[in-house]
């Protein structure tokens, strides 16, 4: 798995990390049982503050994508475990769909685009 951090982006670094892990799981790059690097190791490698990495991991744990354990570090949880969809995600989706609608896309085009992205795993 390759993580990319853009320091000029408006998205906070912890959110960039969280998003990439979520995308990685969705695309099958991160499988249940896979271990994420430890907070210290990822912070050392990237130069990002340990607190930032820790914040991303806490969020992922809270959202049910990972399990953290003192011994094994952060582990991707199995797919059959129910992951609750945060209200913000639905609101964000609503906003994006509205933008596409205002850009002139029809309902079918939006659904087709979503289907295509869902199947290809290219977000």
């Amino acid at each position: 798995m390759i993580f990319h951090f853009d320091f000029n982006s408006n998205i906070p670094l912890y959110m960039q990390l969280r998003n990439q892990v979520v995308i990685g799981i969705a695309e099958g790059k991160l499988l249940p049982g896979d271990r994420l690097p430890t907070i210290r190791a990822l912070a050392e490698e990237s130069g990002i503050n340990m607190m930032t990495v820790s914040k991303a991991y806490q969020l992922l744990k809270q959202e049910g994508y990972i399990n953290t354990d003192r011994r094994s570090g952060a582990v991707i949880v199995s797919k059959n475990k129910e992951v609750s969809i945060p209200r913000e995600t639905i609101e964000a989706l609503r906003l994006r769909i509205s933008e596409l609608r205002l850009a002139g896309m029809s309902r079918e085009d939006v659904i087709n685009l979503c289907r295509k992205l869902y199947e290809e795993g290219q977000l």
Partner: protein, 451 residues
Amino acid sequence: MIFSIILWASIIWTAPLICYMLVNETKFKKNIVIGVTLPYEAREDEQVQRILERFKKQQISICIILIVIAVPCLFVRGMTVSFTLWCTWVDLLIILPNIPYVLCNRTLKKLKLEKGWKREESKGIWIDTEVIPPNRWLTPWVFLPAVLLCLLPLIWDRSFWPLYVTFAACPALFWLCYRYLYRNKSETVDRNVELSRVLTQVRRYNWGKMWLVCAYSFSALGIGTFFTRNYPVWNIILIISFGFVVSVAAIRIEMNTRKVQERLTAQSGKDWYVDDDDKWIGGIIYYNPNDSRLVINNRIGTNSSINVARTSGKILMGSLILLILAMPFTGVLLGSIGNREIGLELTETYIVSTCGSSEYTVAFEEIEKAELLEKLPDNMIRTYGTGMENLLRGNFSAEGIGEMKVCLDPNHAPFILITTHGNKHYLFGSRDAGLTNQIYDQLELKLDRSK
């Protein structure tokens, strides 16, 4: 003259060593040459070769100049002047070789732009989780025997305890350096994951080896000091040899790392490769505001550097520059310490000797006998304190006397040797021979009266 020879023998060999290390930077390692990352095709480029050849010649010339400057300094008399010259020479040794380095780095960067070798800057950083190294370190127990070995002489000799304790603190300090002056980061050169792993392992192995060598060398020095403690000449030879051997060993480890880096990345740079040149000012100073770490690994070899984009990095770098610039003034400072007034007086109940902040007081009732010496006792060895050509102050030991507290100028006899009832010894003297004689006479009188 002997002082000058010792002083210069301790440092002069570093000039060719630094030259050798800098000339080695003209060989491509991890696609980097003189701090500039270049593609594979640049290795055969005539212009690049010409710039590198010029750099080599400049480094050799600087080395020769430094040695030539040092030769007449050997014949300079006087500790203060010799030390000031020595410090100035060390400053030149640090600064001069870096000037052609920075200039060469700038020329190569310019050429890189002209030839279109500079890739478009990618936004942010890419981290491959496959190459992130595990967080494994040598246990501090490996360094513990070195600490114990340094303390071993205390069984037989307690008089030099500050020295042995200082030696013992060094291996402990080296463990801290080993653990905290290294950034556990992968050595990524290109997309070759295996190559990154091997390079990381090589670096980690050599980093640990270097600090272990330093720790156990200090043990050897501690034990060697115990055996040579009564032979100053042998002790100085031991210290100089130790400095030389440790430096050569450390540089050998560094060069071995570089050799492996050179060999393993000999075919790199043809496809995508890491280029961090923008984070290195002049190829020497690391400046990356997006990196939260203070200690970072140098791109070549085993050493570490600091990130000056951080406030603590700025403070450290500023302090280091100040320290380097202030070095020649330490000679002047030493001179002023040596020329401090040495006070010797008798009060109603005490004999008092003072120098700067040090004060030695002996009550008359404690004194068993006092002697006037026309010359210093044989084989006087400093245990703790100041030992300059015009000032001896602190704890010393001497043949036939043992341990004693000393405060005097060795160039101005006579000296008053005081022995107390508790068999403690004090050796005092003033820079005014008349005053010393007068105080001795008065002291004798007071002692006779009290008897």
